[in-house]
């Protein structure tokens, strides 16, 4: 936990590109020390790579090509390095440890909600992927250009967000049931009847 906060702060403080690259090397080493492979690293950083391209591209648009490149890379690296400690933390720390850390500053029930919401994020990423797959075959053009145009937002809301919300509600319901059936909330003699939000 401390390591995570330290590394996040370091990512914000360090301004030179060399320092950031050094931090990146430390993180990659951290992944391998935690016996995680290249594929896990790739899965955690691939979305940030898109972010890096966009941020660097915007910097270059503003400051011109030679002047914009380094600030762009620096800022996007900072963003990446800010999130990597968290990703490493989630991959290496068992849920009981995360729960007990969360419980230091929030009530047990809230800690459980927060934890479960993060726990199910990858699951929803999978659902999202499935839904987009089907809708594309049904003729929705889910290209980046399509996403940006506000005229299409209503359409996207209909064919992507509604099925995703239905799935989220069902999943929350099933997860809540699983928790209640195994004594969640029993210790305090109260009944838990509210489902977790996604």
């Amino acid at each position: 936990m401390l390591w995570m906060c330290g590394m996040c702060t370091a990512a914000c403080m360090v301004k030179s590109v060399h320092g950031l690259l050094l931090l990146l090397v430390v993180h990659v080493a951290g992944y391998f020390l935690a016996r995680l492979g290249v594929s896990e690293l790739w899965r955690d950083i691939r979305f940030f790579l898109i972010q890096m391209v966009i941020v660097t591209g915007l910097y270059m648009l503003r400051d011109g090509i030679p002047d914009g490149i380094w600030p762009g890379i620096r800022t996007s690296l900072q963003v990446l390095l800010f999130f990597l400690p968290g990703a490493l933390f989630l991959r290496t720390t068992p849920s009981s440890r995360i729960m007990s850390s969360l419980r230091r500053f929030m009530p047990r029930r809230l800690a459980f909600f927060v934890f479960i919401s993060f726990r199910f994020l990858p699951y929803f990423a999978g659902e999202f992927h499935d839904i987009s797959m089907i809708q594309q075959l049904r003729g929705v053009r889910l290209t980046p250009r399509y996403w940006i145009d506000p005229r299409n937002w209503r359409d996207i809301f209909h064919c992507m967000v509604i099925p995703l919300m239905v799935r989220a509600i069902k999943t929350a319901d099933q997860a809540a049931m699983s928790a209640v059936a195994r004594g969640f909330g029993k210790r305090y003699g109260k009944d838990t009847d509210s489902g977790e939000a996604e």
Binding site: G37, S39, R43, R91, P94, S95, S96, I98, I116, R119, P122, Y123, E127, D130, I131, M133, I134, Q135, Q136, L137, R138, G139, V140, R141, T143, H158, C159, I162, P163, V166, R167, K170, T171, Q174, A175, M177, S178, A179, V180, A181, R182, G183, F184, G185, K186, R187, D193
Partner: protein, 463 residues
Amino acid sequence: MKSFLEIHGMSYSYPAAKAPVLRDISLRIHAGECVCITGPSGCGKTTLLMAVQGLLKDGYRPDAVRIHPSGFGLDTGMVFQNADTQILCTTVRDETAFWPVNLGMPPDFIEDAVESALHEVGLAGFEARHVDALSAGQKHRLTIASVLSMRPGLILLDEPGAQLDAGGKEKLVRILKRLKYQGHALMIADHDLHPYRSVADGCVLMKNGGIDRTLTRIPLEYGMPDRLPESVPDHSYKTFGPPVVDVRDISLSGSEDRTVFDGLSLQVQQGEFVHLYGINGQGKSTLLRCLCGFARPDSGAIRTADVDSPRPHLLAGKAALLLQNPQKQIFEDTVFDEAAFSLKRSGLSAERIRERVMWALEFCEVRHLADRSPMMLSFGEQHRVALASVIAAEPRLLLLDEPFSGLDLDQRRRLLTLLRQLCRDRKVSIVMASHNPGSDMGCADRRLVLADGKITSESGYEC
């Protein structure tokens, strides 16, 4: 012999609903007895298990369910249908310890409980493993362990066989047998009871929320039949023109250098019904994804519906995909709009759209639901609406990924009959992936086995 669980005249209706889901249920289960519950979808099997577990809110008389104290730690424990949504923790150990930890058990007790529960389901040594690194079968066994950690006298299992392949079911039945000999009572709700024949002591057939019949053994018709009478194997496809699916020598490696496909080739002719069978984790879904361009092989060539190296938007209207859960694709206000969705994007006249949608709804036997909201339908109806919505565009290729889970045997038969007709009358090619070799009930023209990255054997049916 004194019974362990007694249910006497229990009825229940959900708070907002008019009709009761359970009507006048009476049932007795002894210690060490295994009872299977079956019946058409929506007959109240799951609700009955939930009532016994005490998960239903107001509306039924609590004294209708009576559980006599036994030598076990707790009364009941429930294993739900979907492993992915009921596993809440990130490691095998934490998940197994979830129940005792919630009840505030002492650490020594938790340690022993976790060890013995994992041993019972064959997951000893997996304690520190991340749950996402488990296979489908292992995940399911973990859900049983997470209930066993408190040793409930009665274990309730909701469709435990749905996500498991033949090997997984065999392991499950072995675990169930051992639990039974230890004196646990078991209640299993499922559609295909065939796998449980060696462990079940009785069978309860439910209908419309009530108990229809109680039997001492599982009747033959509640196993999957080998062959449907409607199934007419059709080998005339061999004479048709260019294949609709042409996969040549594709290879793909997945994460951790695991080989998914290793020189796989596959041809599907027009109007042919192919059943792609493989045990869990052999890459059936990935192959379907490759066919419609959502995944790309490292090497080799794919041609789908005359499109080389397919991309999804090039295949819109030509290939259609139906996943296990119809909820993933349903969003419109009415069933009619749902089925018209892809047609509206193809620039057809309103007249033509109406004609085609009506045909698709009629074909899938959901025409009477045209003005209803698809969200409010039962699972089986949603399934047929989803099918209608993909075939309305008259695709040349229909891909189905595990289409049978959640459907009862009768609905499975109806689905297969529909698919058979699509092939024969509309010349649609079908590739259906499943983990159960018998699930095509003899309706497919060919059954292909996907194993070790290749299609290892083909079996046509003799005419």
